[in-house]
């Protein structure tokens, strides 16, 4: 079963933050290269690059999720993290009171395995929540 964010939610919750952070990174990077960096430039550059990494590389905010008998696959920015159920030793879910699920697969790392899933923004929220909870281990 495939669960997908609405286009508007996808754009404003996933794409826009990455674009804004990317823009800030570019501005800060330019300041560094042109010798205009001040005491905060490097910190802001690091943090904005982290947001880009989180969204684009680590896919921590997936746009769509596929859950079937063989695997779970999380997709964002045209890339997919796919995990066969047989390869998953741990799937932990932290349910936040705001309705978002923080999912960690096999301990989760910097580039893979940590996912923020705002289930209340998915059209099939109940089915998605149940599917994730059913596979918790």
């Amino acid at each position: 079963m495939k669960y997908t964010l609405t286009p508007q939610t996808r754009f404003f919750s996933v794409t826009i933050p990455a674009m804004v952070a990317g823009g800030v990174s570019a501005v800060m990077g330019y300041q560094v290269v042109s010798g205009q960096a001040d005491q905060f430039t490097w910190t802001i550059l690091f943090l904005s690059l982290w947001v880009v990494l989180d969204h684009v590389l680590a896919l921590a905010h997936p746009e769509s999720i596929v859950i079937d008998e063989t695997q779970i696959a999380l997709t964002s920015f045209g890339r997919t993290h796919a995990y066969a159920w047989t390869d998953i030793q741990k799937l932990r879910i932290k349910r936040l009171a705001s309705g978002t699920l923080y999912v960690r697969i096999n301990d989760g790392g910097l580039l893979k395995g940590r996912y923020w899933i705002p289930v209340h923004k998915f059209p099939d929220r109940l089915a998605l929540t149940q599917a994730l909870v059913d596979h918790q281990r």
């Binding site: 804004v20 823009g23 905060f40 009171a97 705001s98």
Partner: protein, 443 residues
């Protein structure tokens, strides 16, 4: 004491990772996990403060330009929170506030009259500010110390009462906000929100962030709300097109990035929060939750908080100009407005309309309080060596000059020993109610 002051002097950016790591270790987490959590929280906290600084740093000058453009002038000048901080730190109460507040927290944790472990040591100065004002007014240090301790206790209790809402509406699991300024407006929010429940028609209005997005489509998205409001403020400040666009985009970007930094902070905090819950369950055989008390900055990112703050920035100035009995012109501290609404949002359940109404009441009462407390605050600031602006006869501030809690404490302490008895009785009653609540929760 000097060691404590040295530690605090290292700043939140250094101390926050250390404190979180230590907390994790105490709660039984492995060293690697605790260290990773501490560093992540530290980085998130730095990021949050940088983006909030970006917001304030751009908003402040715009507001000041707006005031200048409209030629507004009142007799009490807003010099900002540095005046209140100067009063706090220059006083003997300020010198002793850290051990006092920590001791209050430990005693309340052990007696189960609070669930909050307050690690936001840098904001203990809010209690010291009130204590310093009371010391100055009564000419008695003991009264000042007692009031500071009482404010610390009441802040912890109010933080507990709003914690569930903070979890639900700010997405901050396991976190409470025992911030001396933010909690001061909780009673106002509770009363106004309750009154709104009884007004026919008004009580049916329900505009939360999701509702705004449903009704206004893309124009309800935080980035667009921030951009539009920022542009409006820039226009009111008389900026040129470049300035208006710059301010609008900066505000919009802030509304996007603040939640990202808060998310990073939460990723670090979740393992510690889990370890704390397990620790309490094992050691105290209790299901009672432990909240980690953090700076109100972590709750600034809610779209309703920021939207209401941006709307109220120009409105506050307008209201100040026409409000009968007001002599205080909000100026330097307008960028601090979001801190006043952080704990209002959980009470209004994120409703934009209700938060705005509460916000208006807070602004009106805040202006009167800042006016009323100005003579005492001016004297105390001068005594603390604060440099007065040229031509200023009276000064005040939004933080903490408009705090209803600080104001109430100062007024009650006019009664000296009777005032102490009254405050102690109120605190005792609140602590008892909280104890019963915690006990019921842990069954």
């Amino acid at each position: 004491m000097e060691f404590l002051n040295y530690l605090v002097g290292l700043g939140a950016s250094v101390m926050m990772p250390l404190i979180i790591t230590l907390l994790g270790l105490v709660m039984g987490a492995k060293f690697g996990k605790a260290l990773r959590a501490g560093l992540t929280v530290g980085v998130g906290f730095i990021g949050l403060n940088l983006v909030i600084g970006l917001l304030g740093g751009n908003l402040g000058p715009a507001v000041q330009q707006m005031v200048t453009n409209y030629g507004l002038s009142l007799t009490v000048i807003d010099v900002g929170w540095p005046a209140a901080a100067a009063i706090a730190f220059a006083s003997q109460v300020g010198a002793l506030i850290i051990p006092i507040a920590l001791a209050v927290n430990v005693v309340m944790i052990l007696t189960k009259t609070t669930q909050t472990v307050n690690i936001d040591v840098w904001n203990f100065w809010h209690y010291a500010f009130t204590g310093a004002l009371v010391t100055f007014a009564t000419n008695d240090l003991v009264y000042g110390l007692i009031v500071a301790a009482i404010q610390a206790a009441i802040t912890l209790i109010l933080a507990d009462w709003t914690a569930k809402g903070v979890e639900e509406y700010n997405g901050l699991q396991g976190v409470s906000i025992p911030h001396g300024l933010s909690v001061a407006f909780v009673p106002v929010a509770l009363v106004v929100n309750k009154v709104l429940d009884y007004i026919p028609g008004i009580n049916k209005i329900n505009i939360d962030a999701e509702g705004v997005q449903k009704r206004f489509g893309v124009f309800g998205e935080p980035i667009l709300v921030g951009t539009v409001l920022g542009a409006v403020i820039g226009a009111l400040a008389g900026y040129d097109v470049k300035g208006i666009l710059n301010l609008g985009i900066t505000m919009g970007a802030s509304l996007v990035l603040i939640p990202k930094m808060a998310g990073l902070l939460m990723e670090g905090l979740i393992p510690i929060s889990d370890a704390a819950s397990t620790f309490v369950e094992k050691r105290f055989k209790s299901n009672s939750k432990i909240y980690i008390g953090l700076d109100a900055a972590v709750g600034i990112g809610h779209p309703t908080t920021l939207a209401v703050s941006l709307i109220l920035v120009p409105l506050s100035v307008a209201i100040a100009a026409v409000l009968p009995g007001n002599q205080f012109l909000p100026f330097a501290d307008l960028a601090v407005l979001p801190f006043l609404f952080v704990l209002v949002v959980p009470i209004t359940k994120g409703d934009l309309f209700r938060t705005l109404v509460v916000g208006l009441v807070i602004v009106v009462t805040g202006l009167w309080i800042s006016t009323d407390i100005a003579p005492l605050l001016t004297q105390a600031a001068a005594d603390a060596g604060f440099t007065m602006p040229v031509g200023a006869d009276l000064i005040s501030s939004i933080a903490d000059g408009s705090s209803p809690l600080s104001w109430a404490f100062v007024k009650v302490m006019d009664l000296k020993l009777i005032g102490v008895a009254v405050l102690a009785a109120i605190t005792g009653a609140m602590a008892f109610v909280n104890f019963k609540r915690i006990k019921a929760q842990s069954k």
